[in-house]
């Protein structure tokens, strides 16, 4: 049984084919890296999975559920979390409150009105703070964090949401080499209990993840395999280096 199943998905924007008969299968517990040049359709693929964009045709299934019929909150509640390319956290709220809002659980407005912070929630937040190394910053306003810290906070919010599948869009953009390696480690850690799809440009990072790689080009899969296999693939080299 597949966790995520995309079959010949196509998306067109004003005549531009962002996704062209894209097919992709993810097994439960798997971590997959998606690479590809700009405009290859990586972010559009994420948009289709999370309900932001409706495909023109094709099937998108999460286990048995047809994702093309659901909107973003329903898909999120189903167990698919997403980290954006540009870190988006709730800048006016403290780091701790950002995590609190992300925690799996109450979502209806009136339930939120009467919600009290439970000790379980407190414990979970402390745990995530420790995992993302944000404990010393818990009381700070999220908007005051550095770029790398915001990336980590957003990953922390994904952990709070505790989705079955995490979609992570360019998690190491703008990070130092050391941070990049720590993030790879963190994702490998997360992968022990979650399935993960990572979109990334940084080949060093992808190498550090050590997982199966899918190369997208012009909205379709160009190659699939280990980092070594795909980087030896002449078509991949051509797409990345030549024109």
């Amino acid at each position: 049984m597949n966790l995520l199943y995309l079959d010949s998905v196509s998306v067109t924007f004003d005549g531009f084919r962002a996704l062209n008969e894209l097919s992709l299968v993810l097994a439960p517990g798997e971590m997959r890296a998606i690479i590809g040049p700009n405009g290859a359709g990586k972010t559009t693929m994420m948009d289709v999975i999370t309900g932001k964009t409706r495909p023109d045709k094709g099937d998108v299934l999460f286990r048995d559920t047809d994702l093309t019929r659901l909107d973003e909150p329903s898909i999120a509640r189903l167990g698919i979390g997403r980290k954006f390319q540009k870190p988006t956290v709730f800048e006016q709220l403290s780091v701790r409150d950002n995590l609190l809002l992300s925690l799996k659980g109450k979502r209806a407005p009136f339930a939120m009105l009467f919600a009290r912070r439970t000790s379980q929630e407190e414990a979970r937040i402390e745990e995530i703070l420790a995992t993302t190394r944000l404990t010393p910053h818990a009381g700070r306003q999220a908007g005051a964090l550095s770029h790398g810290q915001k990336q980590w906070l957003e990953i922390g919010m994904l952990l709070g949401q505790d989705p079955e599948l995490l979609l992570v869009d360019e998690p190491v953009a703008g990070m130092t080499d050391a941070e990049t390696m720590q993030t790879a480690e963190l994702l490998r850690d997360i992968n022990r209990s979650h399935s993960v799809v990572v979109v990334e440009h940084d080949m060093e990072f992808v190498r550090a993840l050590g997982v199966k790689v899918t190369v997208l080009h012009e909205g379709s899969v160009l190659a699939e395999g280990s980092v070594e296999q795909v980087s030896a693939n002449p078509r991949v080299v051509e797409v990345y280096l030549g024109r």
Partner: protein, 367 residues
């Protein structure tokens, strides 16, 4: 997060205490040095009703990022429901002495009361309607607008259209709300003569208490997790969607609550001002309310209350002295506030809420 008494609560206390002092002073003998004349009590009551409108605009603009340019519609609807009660309360003391029909209906040669006037002879019913009618309109409008993800300037324009359409509708005589003249000539409320200083003092106190109550209630909502979610939706709406929230529901809740507050304000306004007409729906009124909020400082609960009181006090004084210049002054006030006091008067007191909690840690990368 625990504080002793928060700023909104202080504001609520100050409003209630101020109104109590004014009300008591107005009941002193008229020749006493401390006597407050009746018109001042009426003005204060009007300002406090406006402050309720300001609070209501601020709830959606300051905390949910929805710039409403039509909130006076909810205020006026609350006012009309109260006006309908006050009309029925006149009974046979009207010019035409018709015990069932308000004067304007007799004048239009109507022979019976339209069905939507039924029940308005009773104050509790009218009060219920002062809440329900604005809430129902806000609910229907908000549900459609937020569900379709209409936001920003487009939403602002639709709110303007909403209040403008209501204004045109209420101008029509056959709507049954007194047309151009609206509802006026009220005699008494719940058996108390509206022209008695004691009634006016009582109404001022009541308005102050309602405002104080709404302030405290709003503070409780904003302190709750829903309040945090509201700020989250304001600042990063799509992010909240991807963690499973429905921002349209969150907005709808605060939008309807805000309309309730505006409706209450309108109902209290009419009892003290003595008239409600379609002019209250004029788009300019809603925009003025936005200016009070901007001047006072949106995003704090007490700022806009202060803004409404000060700007309206200014308006009263200014229109007395230099009536033709008032609109220029109001416009200038808005521009100057936007340029030099983007956080309004409240911004003079302290930086925005959470900045104060930031601990001075270097913005180093995660170790």
């Amino acid at each position: 997060m625990k504080r002793d008494i928060s700023a909104p609560d202080w504001c609520a206390l100050a409003v209630a205490a101020g109104a109590l002092v004014l009300a008591l002073l107005s009941l002193l003998p008229a020749d006493g040095a401390l006597h407050v004349p009746a018109f001042a009590v009426g003005l204060a009551g009007k300002y406090l009703a406006y402050a309720l409108l300001a609070l209501s605009v601020n709830l959606v603009w300051g905390f949910a990022g929805i710039l409403t340019l039509g909130h006076a519609a909810f205020f006026a609807l609350g006012g009309y429901t109260m006006g309908m009660y006050l009309m029925r309360e006149i009974g046979s003391r009207g010019v035409y002495a018709n015990p069932d029909l308000p004067d304007f209906m007799v004048f239009l040669s109507w022979d019976h009361l339209p069905w939507y006037w039924y029940g308005f002879a009773h104050l509790p019913f009218a009060l219920l309607m002062a809440l329900l009618v604005p809430a129902a309109l806000a609910g229907a409008f908000g549900w459609l607008a937020f569900r379709s993800r209409v936001s920003g300037v487009y939403l602002s324009i639709i709110t303007q259209a909403l209040t403008y359409a209501l204004m045109l509708a209420f101008f029509r005589n056959d709507m049954g709300f007194g047309g151009n003249n609206g509802l006026t000539d009220f005699k008494d409320v719940a058996g108390f003569d509206l022209h008695q200083p004691s009634t006016r003092a009582g109404l001022l106190m009541l308005t102050a208490l309602v405002l104080a109550g709404c302030l405290v209630l709003s503070r409780m909502i904003l302190d709750s997790r829903l309040g945090q979610l509201l700020v989250a939706v304001r600042d990063a709406e799509s992010r909240t969607r991807f963690i499973g929230y429905r921002p349209e529901h969150v907005k709808l809740v605060i939008w309807v609550f805000s309309a309730l507050v505006a409706g209450l304000g309108g109902a209290l306004y009419v009892t003290q001002v003595g008239i409600i007409n379609p002019g209250e729906f004029a788009p300019g009124n809603s925009i003025e309310a936005v200016i009070w909020v901007a001047v006072g400082g949106r995003g704090t609960l007490w700022g806009p209350v202060l803004g409404a009181l000060l700007v309206n006090l200014g308006k009263t004084l200014f229109t007395g002295l230099l009536p033709e210049l008032w609109l220029y002054a109001l416009g200038a006030l808005f521009i100057l506030t936007t340029l030099f006091l983007p956080r309004g008067l409240a911004g003079l007191r302290r930086p925005p809420a959470l900045v104060a909690e930031i601990t001075p840690v270097d913005s180093e990368a995660p170790p």
